[in-house]
Symmetry: C2
Subunit: 272 residues, 2 copies
């Protein structure tokens, strides 16, 4: 099996790929859109994409790819701990750090640590955490924020670990493939739908279909339609498999009420 | 009146401040948290913060500040067009552009334009679009993506305008102050609440309160609780003012069903 992830080696996406299929061949792609295209074109069999972080919330780019750019199905979910580390060139000391590189989101996640421990260091943005690690070999006074695995891969040293401001920082990934999963008895289903925006009660009427059937919603999220402010696409995860009779009946009723419905797939609930 | 915004001069936040109160004294702060703190501490009377973009979706940082970090109320909303421009040093030509700086989000918004017109240019991240404009005066082959106003403020020239991949790109801002607004007859109210996460039907029961009272929901959004994956804070905007009798009755019923409820304020609907 070949598994596509957002590269380079050392990203949390690679850690998700390793967790899902330790023995699979890993294929690094340079963008989330590329990860999905790799499966569509046969370069890989499955793709891992982050959907949600416990601190930052939804990964909008993945949701938009699921909605707009792929027909692949969700066949699994997994949860990966996110532990940010401060990485330096081997042998470098904390006192030598003058500038710290990372993706703006990772810099934001570690703001408390940076203010307490490196109040005078300059912060510089990179396009990825892996790109930040490369900067430490270009500048004598540079450190980077990235995963410990990124440090291993690029030959950097961990100066401090667990430097994120929030504990319990985890990211939920989905595994995409041509087919979703067969029923396991402990499943979830992910869907997206739109409502007629001149009839605002429709969202509540649709959510009532799940409540009336006793299907627990585990998540509800909205994304902009991108055409007009105030018009949204709703994403809902709920317990149950689309092949179960009661679930199929609810999906039929939701389809009748919604302007548009897409079932991303049914898959076993992540059990840790 | 003094109005705080995310600086430096030339940001879309400054354009929102100008649109809300053209004659007010503008106070630039270096972070969204700083913008809010400026009002709390008396440096400014009101603050403008972006909450939602028609293409990118919610501005998570603002939602989290409203939920966790301030008691200020929402007293107005406004919608500002987002037009990204390619800025260069005066006199520089397109053929001279070797590297393009911007915040990763702005680079992402202009991906189609960059691939078509500058396929060989290197893309570099900055911590802000305004920071990107400063780079064009440091590097001979650099251009930046930012607003036309940022170009004016920093003495740059607009080489191309409207370079975002999506048209109708607008950002909705809220205006925060110690008090929300008096009823105007055409109002909206913004609230946040949590449900007991072991009782998943509660969200639907709460939304039904609005539907049963005929109050249109204009927006529903969720944010992570940050403590545990799968536990959310819901943000809802609906039509009506909290001082109207019917709205106050619904809020009482929602408060009884929710684990926690916060009313951010009532304010006139933006009419363009």
């Amino acid at each position: 099996m070949k598994i596509a992830f957002l590269g380079p080696a050392g990203t949390f996406g690679e850690m998700a790929a390793l967790q899902y299929a330790p023995d699979a061949e890993r294929v690094a792609l340079p963008s989330h859109a590329g990860v999905v295209a790799a499966v569509g074109s046969g370069m890989a069999d499955v793709a891992v994409l982050p959907v949600e972080n416990s601190v930052e919330g939804s990964v909008s780019e993945t949701l938009d790819i699921l909605i707009h750019e792929t027909d692949l199905r969700v066949r699994a979910e997994l949860v990966v701990p996110v532990e940010q580390c401060l990485l330096v060139r081997p042998g470098m000391q904390a006192a030598d750090v003058g500038v710290i590189y990372s993706h703006p989101q990772a810099l934001g996640q570690c703001r408390g640590f940076l203010e307490r421990c490196f109040p005078r260091a300059r912060l510089e943005a990179s396009l990825s955490t892996a790109g930040a690690v490369q900067e430490i070999f270009r500048h004598a006074d540079a450190a980077a924020i990235a995963s410990a695995r990124a440090g291993d891969v690029h030959g950097a040293e961990v100066l401090a670990r667990g430097i994120g401001d929030r504990k319990n920082n985890v990211t939920r990934f989905v595994v995409l493939a041509a087919q979703d999963a067969q029923p396991s008895g402990q499943d979830k289903t992910s869907i997206a739908f739109t409502t007629q925006h001149d009839r605002p009660g429709t969202l509540v009427r649709i959510l009532n279909e799940f409540a009336d059937a006793g299907l627990n919603l585990t998540r509800i999220e909205s994304r902009p339609s991108k055409d007009q402010l105030g018009v949204y696409i709703f994403l809902v995860d709920f317990e149950g498999h689309r092949q179960e009779e009661a679930v199929a009946a609810v999906l039929d009723r939701v389809r009748a009420k919604a302007s548009w419905l897409r079932v991303f797939g049914s898959y076993p609930r992540f059990a840790g």
